[in-house]
Every structure is written in structure tokens, then in C-alpha cells.
Assembly symmetry: C2
Homo-oligomer: 331 residues x 2
């Protein structure tokens, strides 16, 4: 009733399990006839190698861990997709874990990956993660850890992301070039370094352009709903902005909902530009202008860096992901 093992095949053919093992992988020590017989019996019995036993014996799990802060619909699905494709192409399997944006969850997930013996770990850190010491148990044992997108820049771990400061600046500059001078900024959780860096790029560009940085025109939100609420407040200000920079698709949704609810004409009364995975800005008419920040590309590059590390190839500390501006309608 249990599964077929090499021992079963060996017993049936009156040979040694070691011979079966070698025959199944065409070892030159084994005669062609024996190889034939073994393979035939294995086929007939429907033999499937026990990966647990193999992993255990080789002290290799063929497992890659992926820890994401949350399973939102906007960015991580495409990242996961790209990573899984690559991981599978390399003959590995992927374990996806989410930390619920908490440090505790991230630490637990890391421990699980450790206990399962993952051979590499890809992480987009939680909002609470400043201290990254929980990854050191892994790196000390030679298990590579790569941070992507939501990162904390410690020299110990290679990071994969866009140049957030520059990219945010470029989007703001784009709005400026189109004549907008009162540019509001919407950012994710203020604890996230990705939020800090994008806000930094936004503020720096405003200053470089000689524009004022108005705190009333800047808000942080970690969900579409709160972004909508904050946006509604901005729309009630006596001194209203004429444009909005949104650092993500998730915030864009809330912003659009707020604008549509108030009947704000876009881009007539309010221009919008954002950083996006590429789908969401096209939901509305006219389409929203965005800087394309491809989740699939981030995933592909992160996986690539990881496998280079697994193969002991040198990898750069910073791995920039390209972005490109997609200008739509009159914005």
C-alpha cells in the first residue's frame, strides 16, 4: 500500500538497492541489461523517488523560501509568478510565506525556512522590520538571503529594487513639465523604507524645482481605504493641489475612488501620476500616467541574484530594476 522504493525493485530483481540506485541514473558501472531491467520494473511499479529521503541524504532541500509582507492583489502576485517560474526552471520548489506585515511573522517564517532547510531566501520585509538579525542564522550557514522591493539596506544582503528616490523624482518632474505646480504626494506606511525613499525623491524634486513642500499635501496610508479617506481630506483643503503623485497602485485605487466620489475631473481638475505594476492605471478613462515598475521583472531579477549566490557567483550589492514612463492622455 505504501509507495514503491528502490528496495522493492531490488528485491524483485534479486539485486542490491545500490545497483538499482545507480541503474536509475545510468551510472557507467552498471551494465546496459541491468539498467534496462531496473528501469522497466521501476516504470511498471510506478516508482517515484522519495524527495524527502533524497533531500535528507544530500542535505539539500531543493527548496527556496519567499517571504512577503502581505498577499495583496497589486504587486506580489506578479512577483510570485516570475519567481516561481524561475525557481521551477532550476529544479527547485518555492515555499511562499506571508508575514502579515509583522516582524514576528517574518521571524517565524524565517525559522520555518531554516528548519525546512531552504537553500535560499527571498524577502520583501514587513513594515516593522528594521533589525534583520533573524536572517543571520541562515547567512551564517551559507544560505543566501536576497531582499527585494521592500528592503532594508544592510550591507550583508544584496537588494533588488528600483531607484526609488530617482524614480519618484522623475514622476514628480513629469507632472511639473506638464505645468502642474501644486503636487500632492501619497505614500505607503511611513515605517517602510520604500515609503521613505520615495517620499524623499518626491520632496527633493519639489525643492530642486523650487516648489514648496507642503505637509498638508502629503499623506501616508497602508490601504486603499485609508488612502481614499486621506485623499478626501486633501480635497477639502482650502488650498487644493492640482496634481497627485501616488507611490503605488494600491493607493491609486483609493485616490481615484475619492476623486470620483467628489466628482473631481481627471486630469482637468486633478492630474494623477503614479508608480505602478502597469494594469491598474488603465482601469479608468482616461488612463492614468505611470512609471512602470514591473513586478515580474523584480521577481525575475531577485531570483536571478539568488541563484547566482547559490552557485557562488559574485553578485552586486545593489541590483537596480529598470522602470519606464508610460504617458497617457493629457497627463
Amino acid at each position: 500500500m505504501g509507495r514503491i522504493t528502490v528496495k522493492d525493485i531490488a528485491r524483485l530483481l534479486n539485486i542490491n538497492p545500490s545497483t538499482v540506485s545507480r541503474a536509475l541514473k545510468d551510472h557507467p558501472d552498471i551494465s546496459k541489461e541491468t539498467i534496462e531491467k531496473v528501469k522497466q520494473v521501476a516504470e511498471e511499479l510506478g516508482y517515484e523517488p522519495n524527495l524527502q529521503a533524497i533531500s535528507f541524504r544530500n542535505r539539500k532541500s531543493r527548496l527556496i523560501g519567499l517571504i512577503i509582507p502581505d498577499m495583496n492583489m497589486y504587486f506580489f502576485p506578479s512577483v510570485i509568478k516570475a519567481i516561481e517560474d524561475r525557481v521551477r526552471a532550476e529544479g527547485y520548489n518555492l515555499l511562499v510565506l506571508h508575514s502579515n506585515n509583522s516582524l514576528r511573522g517574518e521571524q517565524n517564517n524565517t525559522k520555518i525556512c531554516d528548519r525546512l532547510g531552504v537553500e535560499g531566501l527571498l524577502v520583501s520585509v514587513s513594515a516593522e522590520s528594521e533589525n534583520l538579525s533573524h536572517f543571520e542564522e541562515l547567512t551564517e550557514r551559507g544560505v543566501p538571503v536576497v531582499l527585494f522591493d521592500r528592503i532594508v539596506d544592510r550591507r550583508d544582503f544584496p537588494i533588488v529594487c528600483i531607484d526609488d528616490v530617482q524614480v519618484a523624482g522623475k514622476v514628480v518632474k513629469h507632472l511639473y513639465d506638464r505645468g502642474f505646480r501644486k503636487i500632492c504626494g501619497a505614500f505607503d506606511d511611513p515605517h517602510l523604507s520604500i515609503s521613505k525613499r520615495r517620499r524623499q525623491g518626491y520632496e527633493k524634486m519639489l525643492q530642486d524645482l523650487g516648489l514648496e513642500v507642503k505637509p498638508e499635501w502629503i499623506f501616508h496610508a497602508d490601504s486603499s481605504e485609508t488612502a481614499g479617506e486621506k485623499m478626501a481630506e486633501v480635497l477639502d483643503l482650502p488650498d487644493q493641489p492640482d496634481a497627485i503623485f501616488s507611490m503605488s497602485d494600491q493607493l491609486l485605487v483609493g485616490i481615484m475612488q475619492a476623486c470620483l466620489a467628489k466628482g473631481v475631473e481627471i486630469p482637468g481638475e486633478m492630474a494623477i501620476a503614479c508608480i505602478s505594476n502597469g494594469l491598474v492605471p488603465n482601469f479608468w478613462k482616461p488612463h492614468i500616467t505611470y512609471m512602470h515598475h514591473s513586478g515580474e521583472e523584480v521577481g525575475a531579477i531577485a531570483a536571478n541574484v539568488l541563484f547566482n549566490m547559490i552557485r557562488n557567483n559574485p553578485v552586486p550589492h545593489m541590483n537596480w530594476v529598470e522602470t519606464n514612463m508610460v504617458v497617457q492622455s493629457s497627463t
Copy 2:
């Protein structure tokens, strides 16, 4: 440099590995002092049990497999989230695999799950899956398989989904009750049984209401883009519908894009109602009316059925997921 094992602890304390093993799990045969010492040393050395070894020895992987057709942003992220939460709460880990909507991919994924020794498998089948024999290797060895959402109804496997026929009918009926009589229908890949059933419910309700089923008003699309194209064609018909039923969020996006592109007023010129996970219909103003089909609920119920099977509790063959109508604006 390698990881700490029970043997290391045993050597350090001049005791037997078996004593260490028992001490770590408070076996009554071991004295309190020994337990203390062992635990202290384990703590100091940062001992982490090797789950591979444990899985191997116990012939239990503590792994659950999840196979989805594709990593789209609309439905599966919420399903995955719910499943992972439950799986983790049970002390298991989740392996997420996607089949790229191909039978081959699904078969490969199943084989991988088999080789890894998963203790249960959750599947949303690919568009190409009619024959489900690849799952039998697992069920024959007592590994439960549960199908959800995109299902094929074979008596062998419990299924978790909404009552697609009835739900689609209800949405159509809702449009009818609001006075619409020319109701277009948008469905996913025609090979999917979920598409067939929802279309069946749509057509049956039209007939029950004495309305004509017009083939020109029915289209199938497996992406937002093609849905948009097909919708644009419908909008060019001489005899235009006054309402649309969309069977999913993904199609809704394409439909909305087409309507917005043509300047069709919603719901004035065209009423829309759909089956949705609940977020997408609120992207626009006015919000789109929808039948709420919660991905999280589907995931939670599917996981629940699976764990009941793992515990040898009896489970029903059909496991219905509840839906509820969310009526918005004037539609």
C-alpha cells in the same frame, strides 16, 4: 559550521542522542535535571530541529500542496492568503504551484507534490483538465485531494465552490428586476466548467424569464484584454444590450475599459452586474453591483475540508460557499 544536531548536544553533555531527543520533548523517562541541561545547551547552541530528517523518519512531510491555474491578481491571492493562514495554524506548510492553465503543468505539479510527499492537495484545475487521473496516484495512497472554484465534478474528489448555476441566475434576475431585458453575458474560457455552469445559469434564467438567448450577446474571454475587445464588438452591434452580466472581476475590467473608451454611460446606457471578489467593482463611480464571491471564504472552506479528510472525518462531496448580493447605485 553546519547546523547543530542532537548528536552535538549529546556529545557535549556526554549522554546519548536518544536522551537528548526525549529531553527536548519532556519525556517522563528523563529526569528534570537532564531536561534542564539539555534545553539550556540546545538554547545556547541555537539548535533547530531538522524538519527534513523528522519528515523523513515519520514519513510525514507536514506539507500541503496548492495548485492554481494562474497567478492572476483578482481571485487567487485572497484564496492563497486564507489557505496559508489555516495551513500554518495547523502546523503545516504550504507549497503553491501554478499550472499556467495547462494540463501538463498540472500533471507536473501533481508529480512534484507526490514526490515531496504532501499530506493533502488543494486544486483549482486548469482550463485543459477534463481527465483527473493524475490525482489518483495520490488518493490511492490515502492523500486527500480537494477541488475548489475551478472544478471538475468527479465523485472521487470533494469540491468547494459556489452554486454557479444558481448564482449566475440570481445576478441575471437582479438585472431583470431592475427593468433590464437585453442582458449580455461575459464568460471565461469556454472549456472551464465554471464558465459552462455560469453560462448555463445565465441562459436558464433568461429562458425562465421569457427572454431570448442571443448568441451575439454572449462572449467568452480568458483575459481582460480579450474581454475588452469582445465587449467593444458588442457595443458596435446594431441591436445593443442594455445590461451586462460579467462572471468575474477579470472580465469586468475589460468590459469597463471598453465601455469607458466608447463613452458609454453606466448605468444609464448600460447596466453592469457581476460575480466578484468584492474589490474591483468599487474602482469606478458609480460602483458596480455584484454578487460577492469571497476568495478568502473559498480558501478557508477548502482548507477546512482538506484537514477534515486528513483527520479521517467524513466530509460532504459538495461544499457550497455562500454568496451575497451587493447592490450599489441604481443598478
